[in-house]
């Protein structure tokens, strides 16, 4: 008897390959003499690309494996490709940075790869246990990379804070999962759905949902489970922060989407209330708290919190259009945030990273292109048409209004007006303030990512149709 049924293997092949690549590279890193980080970086990128191709071309339609614990559908494929892209970008951004900060380790890309495996498992999770497994695999790797600059107190503090609070959130998640299991007698999403439809659970299941959503909200850093975000973003090395703000957010959001829809599609009005609360709190706090920041990484942390709030608006709508909005939002958000962090990585003077917003002063006169790209990204994040960020917000607000959540949409718009202030302030500082000394020349790959993100935000309006259609198909596969 094969340990793996052939059908199961086909569904889970990309994850297996990625895990194997990670382990092989680990061996290479340990046993190969001399400098191995470069080779491992390149090989990791190659591996991510191969796996992305496998995900795209490895079949279509809905496939399940391992007795329904693992599911691959269009939604999962789209999200996985996004995640792989985000991970690849995070590795790319780190190559020179780590070298210059003298914290280059071959384990870093391997941890990213393993985290990516975890994220892919999250996206495909169709069972409370596989959900938890994926989440922990991802989280553990993230705790480690947060503290990868281990001789730096701030980085270590970031890793420790993330770990402690992450453990608490895992505890909540598990507690919720056990409540749900206890009240429905099942861990598989379809079985839970069947049990709740049959009337099992009641308030107990709702409590379970609260705890599970709390655990997942921690991962997407939604208020009030966001407190770790600014500290961890600030303390971690910048490429790690870029990684945190991109792929794991996509994965956690995808997991949240599946977790509220697959098992609890019958309880939409109930969990909707949770998400509306969390969403409003995130949008408002993200908008207000960012204004007071002077460190650009902290600012982007609050920006990230706010953006998750907007994405949750779409989820709170509880409709297929809402999910489509979430997918589009995450797609655009991930690219915007990667581009922004690429710009932050470029903020170095004489090999030392600087992170204050005031360091950007007069950038338009010392580095026109970087200033322009960052300005485009900020305009886009502020949601100014016709840039990509505008459409992201448009689709989620549209879904909210169609779902009769007008108040939520209005609060969202007001929050984005407040939020526009701090994005535009950065533009103002870059273009109108007296120039600070210029930055070191950017490395090619950082520049590439920044420019690509800026270009994406500019031309999104032209390529929107196919992407929106894709997101629509992905959303449809959940219903």
């Amino acid at each position: 008897m094969w340990l793996l049924e052939q059908a199961d293997a086909a569904a889970v092949l990309p994850e297996i390959i990625l895990a194997v690549i990670a382990m092989v590279l680990l061996m290479v890193g340990v046993f190969r003499k001399g400098e191995t980080a470069n080779f491992v970086n390149l090989a990791s990128l190659f591996g991510l690309a191969v796996v992305a191709l496998l995900v795209i071309f490895g079949g279509s339609g809905r496939m399940t494996a391992f007795g329904g614990a693992f599911v691959v559908d269009t939604f999962a494929r789209v999200m996985k490709v996004l995640i792989l892209f985000g991970s690849a970008a995070a590795i790319t951004l780190s190559v020179h940075f780590m070298k210059e900060q003298k914290i280059e380790k071959f384990e870093y890309p391997i941890l990213i790869l393993l985290a990516t495996v975890g994220m892919m498992m999250m996206v495909s999770a169709n069972d409370l246990i596989s959900l938890y497994m994926g989440l922990e695999l991802q989280s553990l790797a993230l705790y480690v990379v947060a503290a990868i600059d281990r001789d730096n107190a701030r980085s270590s503090e970031a890793g420790l804070k993330y770990f402690v609070l992450g453990a608490l959130s895992s505890g909540m998640l598990l507690y919720g999962a056990s409540l749900i299991y206890g009240f429905t007698g099942a861990t598989g999403f379809p079985e839970i759905a069947a049990a709740t439809a049959a009337g099992a659970g009641g308030l107990g299941v709702l409590f379970g949902i609260v705890f599970v959503i709390a655990g997942l909200a921690f991962k997407v850093s939604a208020v009030p489970f966001h407190m770790w975000t600014p500290d961890v973003y600030e303390g971690s090395p910048t490429p790690v922060t870029a990684f945190f703000s991109a792929a794991p957010k996509v994965a956690a959001m995808a997991l949240l989407v599946r977790t509220v829809f697959a098992p609890f599609s019958g309880l939409v009005p109930d969990w909707q209330q949770i998400l509306v609360f969390v969403s409003i709190a995130s949008m408002v706090l993200g908008a207000f708290a960012a204004i007071g920041q002077t460190n650009i990484k902290r600012l982007l942390a609050y920006s990230s919190i706010g953006n998750m709030g907007y994405a949750l608006v779409g989820l709170a709508a509880g409709t297929q259009e809402g999910v489509r909005g979430v997918i589009i939002y995450m797609m655009i958000y991930m690219i915007m945030t990667l581009g922004s962090f690429a710009c932050v990585i470029a903020m170095a003077r004489k090999g030392r990273q600087v992170e204050e917003i005031s360091d950007l002063a007069g950038l338009a006169r010392t580095d026109k292109m970087l200033a322009f790209v960052l300005a485009m990204l900020m305009f886009s994040l502020a949601g100014i048409p016709p840039l990509a960020g505008f459409f992201a917000k448009y689709f989620v607000f549209l879904a909210a209004i169609q779902a009769n959540l007008v108040t939520l949409a209005v609060i969202g718009v007001v929050a984005s007006v407040v939020g526009a202030y701090y994005y535009l302030r950065i533009v103002k500082i870059m273009y109108f303030d007296e120039p600070a000394p210029g930055f070191d020349p950017m490395h090619g790959e950082v520049r590439l990512i920044a420019v690509l993100a800026g270009a994406f935000s500019l031309v999104f309006v032209l390529i929107a149709q196919p992407l929106v259609n894709l997101a629509g198909a992905a959303a449809a596969s959940l219903f």
């Binding site: 614990a69 941890l111 790797a141 480690v144 281990r150 890793g159 429905t184 007698g185 409590f207």
Partner: protein, 204 residues
């Protein structure tokens, strides 16, 4: 009241009491010892449930390895727990209120909970009766087949934590002599022993 019920309440009561002592005792070594006591009682509860494998694992792994490791760490690191705990009283009212609210709510919900007889059917892999096969065998049968996915995922998680531990703590210090097993094994009489003919009355 059967004997089993009596033991259930005994184990539970002792476990809860020792859990409270873990966080409230002044001496950290006592805390760890209370933790071990709690583990033992939990193992007892498992036995009552017929889960003898879990009970043994708990004793072997948690008591035998983890808790002892804790004990070492606590003894080796001179942590002033009293100082750490100083701020706790400030937050006690808030924390206690929240804890109380949550507890009351959960008790209210769980108290009204009854498993409907149908639900037991949805349980995916019910534990077989002890008379049919041992826990260990039952777990072994599904762990590498039905639950291969979870098992491997758990393996990956452990791998990550291992890598993490190494990445964050391992330092290559120069001039440190390390034991090299293969060198030791490869060392035969030809390289290790030199026979000298020592003449009486003379030194080497």
């Amino acid at each position: 009241m059967t004997l089993a019920t009596l033991f259930f309440y005994l184990f539970s009561a002792v476990m809860l009491a020792s859990a409270v002592m873990v966080i409230s005792s002044r001496n950290p070594v006592h805390s760890v010892l209370f933790l071990i006591l709690a583990f033992f009682n939990a193992a007892g509860l498992f036995i009552l449930l017929g889960a003898e494998f879990l009970a043994m694992i708990l004793v072997v792994v948690y008591v035998g390895a983890v808790a002892v490791l804790f004990l070492f760490v606590v003894m080796m690191l001179d942590i002033d727990f009293a100082e750490l705990r100083q701020g706790m009283l400030n937050y006690l009212p808030v924390g206690a209120t929240i804890g109380l609210i949550l507890m009351v709510e959960l008790v209210l919900v769980v108290a009204g909970w009854s498993i409907s007889p149908d639900l037991l059917k949805t349980v995916t892999s019910p534990a077989p009766s002890v008379t049919d096969m041992t826990n260990t065998e039952a777990l072994g049968r599904i762990l590498y087949t039905k639950y291969i996915y979870y098992f491997q995922a758990a393996g990956l998680i452990l791998l990550v934590s291992m890598i993490g531990a190494i990445v964050l703590t391992l330092r290559h210090k120069p001039n440190v002599k390390r034991q090299n097993v293969s060198d030791q094994v490869a060392r035969g009489p030809a390289t290790a022993i030199e026979i000298r003919d020592v003449k009486p009355g003379q030194g080497i």
